[in-house]
Amino acid sequence: MGDFLQYTVIGLTVGSFYALVALGYTIVYGIIRLINFAQGDLSMVGAFLGWTLLVSFGFEHLPIYLALVIAFVVPMIGTAVVNLGILQFAYKPLLRRSLLAILITALGMSLLLQNSAELIWGAAIEAYPPNLLPSSGFFVGPVHVTYVQIALVVASLLLMGGLVAFIQGTTIGTAMRALAVDHDAARLMGINVDAVIRIAFVLGAMLAAASGVMLGIYYVQIHFTMGFLLGLRAFTAAVLGGIGNIPGAMAGGMLIGLLEAYTTGYLSGTWEDVVVFGVLITVLIVKPTGLFGERVAERM
């Protein structure tokens, strides 16, 4: 029982990172039906930008709050710029041409980001400052919870909450969902389609970057290939929750984090993927549009 709760804590922490990246997948997918394979690698870029600031530039020695603000905000902006660049140069020319071509381009961008990162930051594993946040914690019964875990989970919940408020609560958010249906009709409403797509890419990149920095703080070690597995898990999470569905992506992320933690805890790390995908396939067979279902409404 104690083990179980301990795994749960770990699962939720990791799950919240997945959820952040999954939201990026879901927003972009919701608008242009593109599985943006570069999403996980944007996280990696965010993680490295944060590392550069904290370690190379030595901001880790600033007062902790200031250091954290810089380490989150700057990478989020930087990654958003990168993502906008990708959108502008790689995706936009293809937007109305062929979905498969964009998909391949996205895979190409993923490869490109990884290899550029290797070129810039090297192939070695880099380390975040290990004691940035106090590594202490407290016990709830037999379960050890660190302050880092709490801080990270709270931070990601805040980010997600902000995103949900934006998408569900504003007309721009509604416009985003409308784009998934019909670009021309959206134009006829006065919606600047290109601008809305840009907003989505900015949001997606910012969430990814935040999760990258969090991963760095949590696991300490970062590597230029870290985006692959992260992206894969997040993509799985997005689909599990019902791709295009915002609460679904969050729940999916948490669920995948938990599954992973339990599998590693009770079975062995080698079976992680098998369990995660096994659950995914089972869920989809039972509920073809994911746990939370995508809103589908078609009439004849």
Binding site: T174, V181, D184, A186, M189, V296, R299
Partner: protein, 244 residues
């Protein structure tokens, strides 16, 4: 100069010339009906004015500004609203969200949005009943109501309707056309494409008849309604069967 002024519009789909020099104009307070058989180019004309299609040549002016080459969403901001053919509602959003998007450009003015929504609900009580229903699950006629209501949300200066009565039950079709008249009377210029030519001409001030991309006839709506050629082609229909 009229509020909306279209001059010698040529539009191509690939190499096929769909519009071969269309000119028309509309003034505030005026309903201008556009008639024509299928494939004549009515829809193409409206799509070109609202910026969804680029003309190869010709001009479109609204309140003295050119609309050619301007993005569709900017044109909406200039007060031109278009109810497209085939409804094109956002089927995964609910009725209310669809209407909100109709008021996208005034989204900050919550009070105004509320008032206009209330007006639309007044016009189509069925939509009020179904506020929360996903638009994609509405019946065909309900979707048509939503498409019209959505366009009214922006309180346009120029309203273009592509077959607004399509799919509406006869009584409702009539009341929609009556509303269109009221909208014009309040000062909007209306371009009305309708297959229901009799009723369209009854409420219109001016009318154009398009055939294979050209205007073949134009004039006062009441006069055109009596024109023999119009009668035969667009009003005749069942009577001629009766006499045959």
């Amino acid at each position: 100069m009229a509020l909306l002024e279209v001059r010698d519009l040529h539009v191509y789909y690939g190499n096929i010339e769909a519009l071969k020099g269309i000119s028309l104009s509309a003034n505030p307070g005026q309903i201008v009906a556009i008639l024509g058989g299928n494939g004549a180019g009515k829809t193409t004309t409206l799509r070109t004015i609202s910026g969804l299609l680029r003309p190869r040549s010709g001009s479109v002016m609204c309140a003295g500004k050119s609309l050619v080459g301007v993005d569709a969403h900017v044109i909406v901001g200039m007060g031109v609203s278009h109810v497209p053919e085939g409804r094109r509602i956002f089927n995964i959003l609910n009725v209310e969200e669809n209407l909100n998007l109709g008021g996208y450009l005034i989204r900050a003015q919550h009070q105004l949005i509320k008032e206009r929504k209330a007006a639309v609900f007044g016009l189509f009580p069925r939509l009020a009943e179904r506020r929360g229903q996903l638009a994609g699950t509405l019946s065909g006629g309900e979707q048509q109501m939503l498409a019209i209501g959505r366009a009214l949300m922006s309180d346009p200066k120029v309203l273009m309707l592509d077959e607004p009565s399509l799919g509406l039950a006869p009584m409702l079709a009539k009341s929609v056309l009556k509303t269109v008249r009221e909208i014009a009377d309040r000062g909007a210029a209306v371009l009305l494409v309708e297959q229901n030519a009799r009723q369209a001409l009854a409420i219109a001030d001016h009318a154009y008849v398009i055939e294979v991309g050209r205007i073949v006839l134009e004039g006062n709506a009441a006069v055109l309604a009596k024109d023999e050629r119009v009668q035969k082609a667009y009003l005749g229909g069942f009577e001629s069967v009766g006499s045959a």
